[in-house]
């Protein structure tokens, strides 16, 4: 099967994830949208790996998954810490770093 369809799905998922990052306020949902974008990239990697007939794309997709796992761990720890001090997980409330 042609990789065009897979790449189109990947592009759509990436755009939806980017829209979610722009629209949502809840920091956890923003994180989920980032995960969706990483997954979309993985789908493109897998499709290109098959298109080119070698396994390097899949290896890179595997590394993306590992880095995503590390990112989620640290990010959620930061969100929990912000929630403990502010009692809110909204990205609008964490603005004390601005000038």
């Amino acid at each position: 099967m042609n990789p065009d369809a897979y790449l189109a799905v990947s592009a759509m998922l990436f755009a939806i994830g980017a829209t979610g990052v722009l629209l949502r306020r809840n920091a956890i949902v923003v994180f989920m949208c980032v995960e969706l974008m990483l997954n979309a990239c993985n789908l493109a990697f897998v499709s290109f790996s098959r298109l080119n007939g070698n396994l390097e794309g899949q290896t890179v997709a595997f590394f993306v998954m590992v880095v995503a796992a590390a990112e989620v761990v640290v990010g959620l720890a930061i969100i929990v810490q912000i929630f403990r001090t502010r009692r809110s997980a909204s990205v609008d409330d964490a603005n004390l770093l601005r000038h």
């Binding site: 099967m1 042609n2 990789p3 065009d4 369809a5 897979y6 189109a8 799905v9 592009a11 759509m12 998922l13 990436f14 755009a15 939806i16 994830g17 980017a18 829209t19 979610g20 722009l22 629209l23 949502r24 306020r25 809840n26 956890i28 949902v29 989920m32 949208c33 995960e35 969706l36 997954n39 993985n42 789908l43 897998v46 790996s49 098959r50 298109l51 007939g53 070698n54 396994l55 390097e56 899949q58 290896t59 997709a61 595997f62 590394f63 590992v66 796992a69 590390a70 990112e71 761990v73 959620l76 930061i78 969100i79 929990v80 929630f83 403990r84 809110s88 997980a89 909204s90 609008d92």
Partner: protein, 253 residues
């Protein structure tokens, strides 16, 4: 149509629909569940493309570990913490949707313009190494072994970082049982344990308040969370007076 095409046309709409609903749902838990649906269909799309190992890892790591972590933090932070619908920047929602649509259209059109050539397929690459898993292992432990080691360092650092970030020093000593007991008698109007919820023939649940001997409702018998959420049941005065009547009749007999 081949089997792969059938699988694609079932799974791809589920993935895109799940992603849209994830962005659209107001409650964070619903978002998490829709994201899990998207990730599972992506896992099957990987498997359909010959990336068997990645598909399994996707299910185990993403829908298993990462989504569990998301839901755990959601429960910790409070499921009720739904998004505020107040726009702090005027026109942000419209601009965000337009930008997202533009990005999607741009990427899909760009992909449509690209000439990708014929699909080489993974059969030869897999057969050269023995299987998909063995081929990936060869890549990972020969060409990418340095990246593999760096990623393992990253994982350990992330685990230590999460522990450091969520660790809290105790500023005062833990109160002893005696101090807790004394505090309860000094502060509280009611030092004993709270009454358990009511148990009736029809509602055998913790949301039903217990009735006091005179037929009035004991509000404290319903868990605080249910009371705050407004999920506590309120028996009608007729029902309570009926129960109270039966109680007194039983005492008389």
């Amino acid at each position: 149509m081949t089997g792969e095409q059938v699988a694609f046309w079932i799974l791809a709409p589920i993935a895109v629909l799940g992603a849209i609903l994830m962005v659209g749902s107001k409650k964070a838990v619903h978002s998490a569940l829709w994201l899990a649906a998207t990730m599972i269909s992506l896992a099957f799309l990987y498997i359909a493309q010959g990336a068997v190992f990645l598909g399994i890892v996707q299910i185990v790591v993403y829908t298993g570990a990462i989504m569990m972590l998301f839901l755990f933090v959601l429960m910790l932070v409070g499921v009720d913490a739904s998004d505020s619908l107040v726009e702090t920047l005027r026109g942000q929602r419209v601009a965000g949707v337009l930008l997202g649509l533009g990005l999607g259209v741009l990427m899909v059109l760009g992909l449509g313009q690209a000439s990708l050539g014929d699909t080489a397929g993974l059969d030869a690459a897999n057969a050269a190494a023995g299987s998909n898993l063995q081929g990936l292992a060869q890549e990972m432990f020969t060409r990418y072994v340095f990246a593999f080691e760096v990623v393992s360092v990253l994982l350990i650092t992330a685990a230590v970082g999460a522990m450091v970030l969520t660790h809290r020093e105790r500023l005062e000593p833990r109160p002893s049982q005696r101090e807790l007991s004394e505090r309860r008698f000094l502060d509280g109007p009611y030092p004993g344990p709270l009454p358990p919820p009511g148990v009736y023939a029809r509602h055998n649940a913790v949301d039903t308040p217990a009735l006091l001997p005179d037929g009035s409702v004991a509000e404290e018998s319903v868990p605080l969370v249910l009371r705050v959420r407004g999920d506590a049941r309120h028996p009608t005065p007729e029902a309570t007076s009926e129960v109270a009547g039966e109680l007194t009749r039983g005492e008389d007999a």
